[in-house]
Structures are given as structure tokens and as C-alpha cells.
């Protein structure tokens, strides 16, 4: 009798266990793990913080986040990634760090994770991901090292990516009967016209602070006006006619901008627009969420959106962040699951509803998202013109970027001659490129 009961019990338990194993969800093996992630203090990632509890609820994996200002985050990361065993399981990297990290072999190649049937979600639908972003932010090893191409592979997923768009004050434009600028000539004319029409108001809020910000602002104008930093054989051409025109455009904008704009970082430029001190704003799409937030903005309901004006072509920014798994991480599989969840259709929609930047075409076209954020439709259209070659993502870009930014800031504040300044940047960039070996095959 006892033996019968016992064997039945054992048999039932065994059956239950096997059944349980057969029905095991993809997340069960990792329940209870705590992931440590590094995110920047950025509106998109603030939205991510809001949806992370959903992830924990669904999978049982805890997430501990280290949020830092994004330039500091980068400094922290370069240190952590170089260790033998790092603290972070998942990092959000600034797009131009893709080159550094991949080159130093510090990010996991995602191929083996997508090949693992226990981890890869068959319903992921990678064709729905915005390809401009995927190639700009996640892909490495293709043409010129950083663009798409047959020789490359994926090291990260775009998350928090952004393109550039023009925001303008509908009420001011209506009041003075102004037209939304379609090309650069109109934009520049308007930028200086507005301070005269509305005394005390700046034309276009732009970042201009020395270093990364001034360089970013410059690049916004360089590409549409037909310029580039390097040509096909990596020779610097930033000082050609288009480059000078772009720098002049930046100077005009800053001169006709709000008080103190020479020192504006991104936060201040945005603040100036949200406070009603400037009539236009040309920068990343991430600001859309804040414009309609009454806690932060005084221009709620008065802002319209348009495409980035055309120069000789339409070329808006591609940039932002991507997420990747460090090579020295501890919980790589669980980190991959998090990455996959965040960039899945459901995760993307959740973050878009919370105010973040979607990374999928379907999210931009989704009815709920558009109901809450009507500008999504314009953004979706802007994405068509996102230029994947917006800036060269090469390991030495950091140095060149810093030099470009500092020099441009001098142009803006000390009235340095533009051609001379750009010639200097080109010469110094050439030295850096030469040292890094970019002209090895040029003979």
C-alpha cells in the first residue's frame, strides 16, 4: 500500500516536472536574475524606466539601472568595458561609440544569440525595424567600416534613435503670416526676420556650446547643404564651399538666436524653445514628448512640426543610442532577453506610449500611438530622409569631433574667420587620420 502510494507520488511528480519542463517559458531559466544596465539621462530612457516594471512583471528578471548624463555615461563605459569582468550586463551606447567598442572587441556579436532557439523570439519581425537606424547604430564592419554592406554584422540594436525635425510656433507664424520654411534660404531668412517681428524672441534655437554640441549643430546643416566631412578616400573636405556655407548658416542662426545662445547645450536650447523665447527648433525628435507636457513647457498646443529643410538635398540626422551587450558581462543571455523585449513590437509600442522614441515602422503607424502623439506621422515621414552617412563613425571621430566643436565655438564667439577655421580643422583631422592609418591604401 505504502509502496503503491509512494510510487504514484513519485510518478506524478516526475510527470509534473517533465510537463513543466516542456512548457517552460523562455524566461524561466533566468527568473530571479538581476541585470545591471547603464542608461543615459535622456527623455527616451526616462520613458524606458517607466516600462521596465512591466518587463520584471512578465519575466521575473530584475533590472537595476545606472542613469548618467550621456557624456559621463560614455566615460564610465569606456572604463567598465576595458575590465576583465564588468559590472554592466547591458549598455546603451551613443552611436558614435559603436566604432570604439566594436573595434576594441568590447561588444558581443549578436549572431549567436539570434541563432539560439531558446533565446531568439520567432515573432521578432526584424524587417519592421527602421533600417536606417539599424545600419547606422547597430551594424558594423560594412562599407567604409560603419555603413551597411555584405561584410558586416550586428553588434547592437537601435534604441532611442532620433532624426532631426523642425518644430515651430504655429501661433507666431499665424500672427505674422509666415510660411513654414521648406529650404535653407527660407529658414535663414526667417531666423533673422523673427527677432525683428517679435522683439525679444529668438529665431531658431540651436545648440552651440563648445565641443560636441557645436559640432552636432554644424553637422545638422552640413549634410543637407551637400557637404561632408570626408570624401571617398577619407580626405577631409569639411572646408569646401558647402562646409563654409554650413558654418555660415550656423553663425547666422546663433547670431539671430536667443540671448546667450552661444553657450547653449542641448538642454538650454530646448528650454529656450519650451519657455517661449524662440520661435523655431531644429534638432532631434525626442523633444516632441516634452513639448506637450505642461510641467515643462509653456508652449503646449502651439507647436507644429515640419521636415528638416532642404538644402541641395534632404538629409536629416541619424543618431541617438543603441543597446548592446558588453563582452565582459556576467548575464549575457538574460541581457539579450531584455534587449529583445525592449525592441520587440510590444516593447516598442509601450515605450512610444510612455513618451520615448520608437524604433519600428509599425509603431510609427500605430493608431494608438498616433492618437496620443499626432506628430508621429510627420516623424515617420521624416525617417525616409534620414541619412545613414550623417557622420563618420570611426574610432578617431571623437577627437575630430571635439576639435571641430571647439573651433566652431570660437567662430561663434570670437568671430574667427570661417574658411580659416575650417581649414585648420581639416588639416588637424588629416593628421589624425594619417596617424590612424586611413591613407595606407591610398598609394
Amino acid at each position: 500500500m505504502h509502496t503503491l502510494l509512494k510510487s504514484t507520488a513519485v510518478g506524478l511528480t516526475a510527470a509534473a516536472v517533465t510537463a513543466g519542463a516542456a512548457l517552460a517559458g523562455p524566461y524561466d531559466a533566468h527568473k530571479g536574475t538581476t541585470l545591471v544596465v547603464n542608461f543615459p539621462a535622456h527623455p527616451h530612457y526616462d520613458a524606458v524606466m517607466k516600462i521596465l516594471p512591466e518587463f520584471t512583471k512578465e519575466t521575473g528578471i530584475e533590472v537595476e539601472v545606472d542613469q548618467l548624463p550621456y557624456l559621463k555615461m560614455r566615460e564610465r563605459q569606456t572604463l567598465e568595458l576595458a575590465q576583465d569582468e564588468g559590472d554592466y550586463d547591458l549598455i546603451a551606447y551613443v552611436v558614435f561609440s559603436k566604432a570604439d567598442y566594436v573595434y576594441a572587441d568590447q561588444l558581443e556579436n549578436l549572431a549567436k544569440y539570434f541563432m539560439n532557439p531558446k533565446l531568439a523570439n520567432p515573432a521578432y519581425d526584424s524587417a519592421d525595424l527602421i533600417d536606417g537606424y539599424v545600419y547606422n547604430i547597430g551594424f558594423a564592419g560594412g562599407d567604409r567600416g560603419y555603413l551597411s554592406g555584405a561584410t558586416g554584422s550586428l553588434f547592437g540594436m537601435p534604441y532611442g534613435s532620433e532624426t532631426s525635425v523642425l518644430g515651430y510656433r504655429k501661433d507666431i507664424f499665424e500672427k505674422h503670416g509666415l510660411e513654414v520654411p521648406q529650404n535653407y534660404d527660407e529658414l535663414l531668412a526667417l531666423a533673422c526676420q523673427i527677432p525683428e517681428l517679435e522683439p525679444g524672441m529668438g529665431g531658431l534655437a540651436s545648440r552651440a556650446a563648445s565641443g560636441h554640441h557645436a559640432a552636432h549643430a554644424f553637422l545638422l546643416h552640413l549634410n543637407p547643404l551637400g557637404g561632408a566631412i570626408f570624401d571617398e578616400s577619407w580626405e577631409p573636405v569639411v572646408n569646401n564651399a558647402a562646409g563654409v556655407k554650413a558654418a555660415e548658416a550656423l553663425k547666422t542662426i546663433v547670431d539671430c538666436g536667443a540671448e546667450g545662445s552661444v553657450n547653449f547645450g542641448f538642454g538650454e536650447a530646448l528650454g529656450s524653445f519650451l519657455n517661449g523665447d524662440t520661435a523655431m527648433f531644429l534638432d532631434t525628435t525626442i523633444v516632441a514628448g516634452q513639448v506637450d507636457n505642461p510641467d515643462k513647457s509653456k508652449v503646449v498646443g502651439n507647436v507644429g512640426w515640419a521636415l528638416h529643410p532642404m538644402g541641395t538635398k534632404r538629409a536629416s540626422q541619424t543618431g541617438g543610442f543603441g543597446i548592446g551587450i558588453p563582452a565582459n558581462a556576467e548575464n549575457k543571455d538574460a541581457a539579450f532577453l531584455l534587449m529583445q523585449w525592449l525592441t520587440s513590437k510590444e516593447g516598442d509600442k509601450l515605450v512610444a506610449m510612455a513618451g520615448g522614441n520608437p524604433s519600428r515602422f509599425s509603431t510609427h503607424a500605430d493608431a494608438d500611438v498616433n492618437a496620443k502623439f499626432p506628430h508621429m506621422a510627420t516623424f515617420g515621414e521624416a525617417l525616409q530622409y534620414a541619412d545613414p552617412d550623417w557622420r563618420p563613425i570611426i574610432p578617431v571621430w571623437g577627437k575630430i569631433n571635439a576639435d571641430l566643436g571647439t573651433t566652431l565655438s570660437k567662430v561663434l564667439t570670437e568671430d574667427l574667420d570661417i574658411q580659416e577655421a575650417l581649414d585648420g580643422v581639416a588639416a588637424r583631422a588629416r593628421t589624425v587620420m594619417d596617424e590612424a592609418g586611413y591613407y595606407t591604401w591610398n598609394e
Binding site: L71, E75, T78, L79, L81, A82, A104, A209, S210, G211, A258, E259, G260, V262, N263, S272, N275, D277, G398, K399, A402, T406, S409, K410, L412, T413, E414
Partner: protein, 303 residues
């Protein structure tokens, strides 16, 4: 162990912990840095893996216009800050050296700026200098005057003002203490002789305070080169490089540009500069003392 032996070792035992710690955390790192300045060193490498490049870092810096600009900014900053603080601090001490009720309360309030964290000082002034909502520009608006672009065009001046705010109390307190320890006999004698207060100041008070003033000035000068957090928070070295003092540039080269070798070379340049200044001041003081002694000797001879 015999008492004599224990006594022989006592000084070493007393000194040992301090020596060990300073060696480990000050001397060794400094030597390490000098060693590292001859290499192309990346933050992820340990120094052994870094490539030896001889004097290349030094030469690069020597020719680098950014380094020159940063050096210029540092010297300008140090000069103006120390001069203004000395003049204002000593002046205030001379003015306020009177017996009034509640002097100790006042002194308490005056040292407050010095005690606040530089990071917080930077914050406060950044807010006050803000182009649109800052206190200063709003006041100017209220008075109908044009706004000033504090942190843009006049960044260096704004930083100097903030530093003066924070450290003048230091000079003030020290000068006041010096003044109050002056022998009253000399002052009384001068007053009896009919010296005006101005003459009293120039011929009696200041010369007698000189030793303290020199030490204070030297201390302040050394500290002026260490200022970093205030500038970091207020302008981050911008616009351009107009407020990037050497200490800030070194920290940027290390963390942002990730070139530890160059940062080390720059640190060495800075140390050499400081050494030159300190030695210079010592020689100057020594010269003054020698001259004073000679004058005194001459007076003694005449008498």
C-alpha cells in the same frame, strides 16, 4: 626591548604611517605619472603595456595652440584672482579692524562662502549667471539695462568673480588676525607722532603684516591653480577654451580624449610652473629679508 632602543625607534614609529600613506598615494603616483608621460597610454592599459614614445607628448603639447591657450587662461585667472582677493581682503581687514559688538557673528557669516562645496558654489553662480532666468540678468532687466552674456562672452570674468566671492573671506580673516596681533606700541607711537591713519596703514601696519600677507598670498596662489570644480560646473571650460584652466584640461584629456600620456605630460608642465612660482616667491621673500636686515644693520651702525 630596552628603553633606549625603544626610544631610538620612536620617531620612526610615529612617522611611519604618514610616510607610508603619502608614499603610496602621493609619491608613487607622481612618479608613475612622470613615468607615464613618456608613453602613449590609454586608460584601459596598465602602464607596462603602453608604448614608449620618449618626449613626443611634451613636444606635441609644446606645439599645441590649445595648450598655450589653456596655459594663458590659467595664468590670467591666477593673477587676477590673487590680486583682487589680496587687495579686497586686506582692504576690508583694514577697514573693519575695529571693536564692534557682534564681530564674531559677522566673522562667522563671512567664512560661509569658503566652507561650501565648490560644486555647489558653481551651481549657485551658474544659476545667477543664467542668461534668461538668472538673478543678475533679471535685475538688469528690472532696471532697464541691457542683459549681459555672463557665461558666454565674459566667461572668464564671471568665473573670477565667483572665485573672489568664495575666497576673499580667507584673505580677510587672515589679514584681520594679523592686524589684531600687531604690537599696539608701534601704532600708539605713530599716533602720538601725529601720523594720519593713511600713513599709519602704509608705513606701519602693512610692513608689519608683510610676513603673513606673503604666506597668505602664496597659499592662495597655489590654490588658484587647483580650482576646477567651480569652472567645471559653470562653463565646462567653454565657450571655446576661454575658461579651460590647465587642471580642467588635464582632466578632460584624461577622461574625454583618453590620452593619459599627454595628460601626464601636461601635469608635469603644471607642476614645473607651480614649482617655479613657489621658488620665485621664496627667493623674493628672502631678498626682502636680506634687504631689511641690511637696512637694519645700517641703522644700527648709524646710531
Amino acid at each position: 626591548m630596552s628603553r633606549a632602543l625603544a626610544n631610538r625607534f620612536t620617531p620612526y614609529m610615529f612617522m611611519a604611517p604618514a610616510v607610508v600613506i603619502m608614499a603610496m598615494a602621493l609619491i608613487y603616483p607622481l612618479g608613475y605619472m612622470i613615468w607615464g608621460s613618456f608613453r602613449a597610454w590609454n586608460p584601459s592599459q596598465s602602464i607596462g603595456e603602453a608604448e614608449f614614445v620618449g618626449l613626443k607628448n611634451y613636444v606635441t603639447l609644446w606645439k599645441d595652440p590649445n595648450f598655450h591657450e589653456s596655459l594663458g587662461v590659467t595664468l590670467k585667472f591666477a593673477f587676477f584672482v590673487v590680486s583682487f582677493e589680496m587687495i579686497i581682503g586686506v582692504g576690508l581687514a583694514l577697514l573693519l579692524d575695529r571693536n564692534i559688538r557682534g564681530m564674531s557673528v559677522l566673522r562667522t557669516m563671512f567664512i560661509l562662502p569658503m566652507m561650501i562645496a565648490p560644486v555647489v558654489v558653481g551651481l549657485m553662480w551658474r544659476y545667477m549667471y543664467h542668461p534668461t532666468v538668472g538673478t543678475f540678468n533679471r535685475l538688469l532687466d528690472d532696471w532697464g539695462l541691457p542683459r549681459i552674456d555672463w557665461l558666454g562672452q565674459h566667461a572668464l570674468n564671471s568665473i573670477i568673480i565667483a572665485d573672489i566671492w568664495q575666497w576673499t573671506p580667507f584673505i580677510f580673516i587672515l589679514s584681520l588676525a594679523a592686524l589684531q596681533s600687531l604690537p599696539s606700541s608701534a601704532l600708539e607711537a605713530a599716533k602720538i607722532d601725529g601720523a594720519t591713519s593713511w600713513q599709519q596703514i602704509i608705513y606701519i601696519k602693512i610692513p608689519l603684516m608683510m610676513p603673513v600677507l606673503i604666506v597668505t598670498c602664496l597659499l592662495r596662489l597655489i590654490d588658484a591653480f587647483k580650482v576646477l570644480e567651480v569652472i567645471l560646473v559653470m562653463t565646462q571650460g567653454g565657450p571655446g577654451l576661454s575658461t579651460e584652466i590647465l587642471a580642467l584640461r588635464i582632466s578632460r584629456t584624461a577622461t574625454e580624449f583618453r590620452e593619459l600620456g599627454v595628460a601626464a605630460a601636461m601635469s608635469n608642465y603644471l607642476l614645473l610652473l607651480l614649482l617655479a612660482l613657489t621658488v620665485g616667491m621664496f627667493l623674493f621673500t628672502r631678498l626682502q629679508e636680506v634687504r631689511a636686515a641690511r637696512i637694519r644693520a645700517a641703522i644700527d651702525e648709524d646710531l
